[in-house]
């Protein structure tokens, strides 16, 4: 018995290190390496645009901590753009571990696909709908005219604008204004609406400036104060020199939007 145990232990000890080396993740060798904030594998940007983008992205990270990366790839290797972008995002680990505040703007010219992949932590700010809006309004029209530099630059500008306090403005543009609930009520249950209206009138005529009447309006239209023109305040003493850049361990669960042109 002791001998059996001993052999087992030796076998285990031998096998344990080799097991650890077995690749847990399927080969991802076809993904490009993260060489900087702008990975232009498809070679569609001129040096000046690349540098300008890099500086904007570096300044944004210095200010907010968000890691945004622009990537162009030669080929999606048969994957869907969603799948590819998610794997690339996870490979590069954009954003900080735990905060997951990374964004990947991906362009695959061969497949004519675009994707904005958003880390967990920014899903609430850069929502799917806003991502879609940016792709359709800032990027696609320029890509259709073969202006890749312009499209990516505008796309980055808008993403930065959203993440830098401009989300409310974009939300107003894309938000599903939620009145369907009361539209439905107006359609099918207007007696109830009447009742409610009289109730409110009665309540207000008692002379109390009620909270309720303020809440009744659309919360969206109010409070656009967060749009305090910060968008052009970069350029202030950018670190400029350090080009070494790496992901911070962030993760994405497939949030974002995609489009084609």
């Amino acid at each position: 018995m002791r001998q059996v145990l001993a052999t087992l232990a030796i076998l285990c000890a031998l096998i344990a290190p080799t097991r650890a080396q077995w690749p847990a993740i399927p080969a991802t060798s076809e993904l490009p390496a993260l060489t900087g904030r702008v990975v232009d594998e498809a070679n569609e940007l001129d040096a000046a645009t690349r540098e300008a983008l890099r500086q904007k992205l570096a300044a944004h990270e210095a200010k907010t901590g968000n890691q945004i990366v622009v990537a162009t790839v030669k080929s999606l290797n048969g994957s869907s753009v969603e799948d590819y972008a998610n794997r690339l995002f996870r490979r590069w680990q954009l954003g900080l571990r735990g905060t997951n505040n990374g964004v990947l703007l991906l362009h695959a010219p061969a497949e004519r696909k675009i994707r904005i992949e958003v880390g967990y932590g920014l899903e609430g700010t850069l929502t799917d709908a806003i991502g879609k809006y940016i792709i359709q309004n800032a990027i696609t029209p320029r890509f259709k005219a073969n202006d890749f530099a312009g499209g990516l630059t505008r796309g980055v500008d808008d993403i930065i604008k959203v993440l830098d306090g401009g989300a409310e403005e974009f939300k107003q543009r894309v938000a599903p204004r939620i009145p369907p609930a009361w539209l439905r009520l107006a359609e099918e249950g207007w007696p109830l609406l009447f009742f409610l209206a009289f109730g409110i009138i009665g309540y207000m005529s008692r002379g109390r400036p009620s909270r309720r009447s303020r809440r009744g309006g659309f919360a969206y239209a109010s409070s656009s104060d967060s749009w305090s023109g910060s968008s052009s305040s970069w350029g202030s003493s950018d670190s400029g020199s350090s080009d070494s850049f790496s992901g911070g361990g962030g993760d994405s669960g497939g949030g974002g939007a995609s489009g084609d042109y």
Binding site: L8, A9, L11, C12, A13, I15, A16, R19, A24, I25, S80, E82, D83, N86, T127, D128, A129, G131, K132, Y133, Q136, V174, A175, P176, R177, I178, P180, L183, R184, G253, G254, G255, G256, A257, S258, G259, D260
Partner: protein
């Protein structure tokens, strides 16, 4: 030798043996099965979350489409019915190791996917609907959610693969047959479903 030292030495040998045993056991991955089981369960709850998120989006979507395409009552009702089925399906605690319950869940969800696909397809025929802001926003959210579901499923499949492999290969097999006799291999999604892409809508 002093009997006291002999005893000490004996006890020391015992402790040494225990330590050695602990190290080799850990090297043998005695913790792998529970660790990987927990990981797979966490991935599974992510899958459930994302399906729930999709179910939550549907009432608003149906309302919006109804406003523009009332005549498509059949398609709309199919979506509502499929959603009702999908949300009423029992998700027992042991669903990941219960093939029948797992299959039922998967079927209900893929029916909902199919009927949603039809709904988005017919909405192509209504220009007013297609340009409606509500619809566009809901549509992008639905696309995003379908993609999150795909990612969550992929993560779950990978986690289960690792766990099931651990149960069935050496040395995990030893622990599976001794310490963790009650651990069963987990169910996973069929590949056929994986090759389906989220509904893509051209503009």
């Amino acid at each position: 030798m002093n009997p006291f030292f002999a005893r000490l030495f004996g006890a020391g040998r015992f402790a040494l043996l225990a330590v050695l045993l602990g190290v080799t056991l850990a090297g043998c991955g005695v913790n792998n099965i529970p660790t990987q089981e927990e990981a797979a369960k966490a991935k599974w709850s992510q899958v459930l979350n994302q399906y729930q998120r999709r179910a939550d989006l549907i009432p608003n979507l149906v309302e919006t489409v109804k406003g523009y395409a009332k005549q498509e009552a059949q398609v709309l009702e199919a979506v509502v019915a499929a959603r009702a089925r999908a949300t009423s399906v029992q998700v027992p605690a042991d669903i990941v190791t219960n093939p029948e319950a797992f299959k039922k869940f998967q079927e209900a969800q893929s029916q909902l996917s199919a009927s949603l696909g039809r709904l988005l397809a017919i909405s192509e025929n209504y220009p007013d609907l297609k340009s409606n802001q509500n619809f566009l926003a809901l549509q992008s959210q639905l696309e995003g959610t379908e993609n999150r579901i795909a990612v969550a499923r992929r993560d779950y499949i990978e986690a289960v693969q690792a766990y099931n492999t651990e149960l069935r290969t050496f040395p995990g097999m030893i622990w599976a047959n001794t310490l963790y006799k009650s651990n069963k291999p987990m169910e996973t999604f069929t590949i056929a479903e994986e090759t389906k892409r989220p509904p893509q809508v051209k503009f």
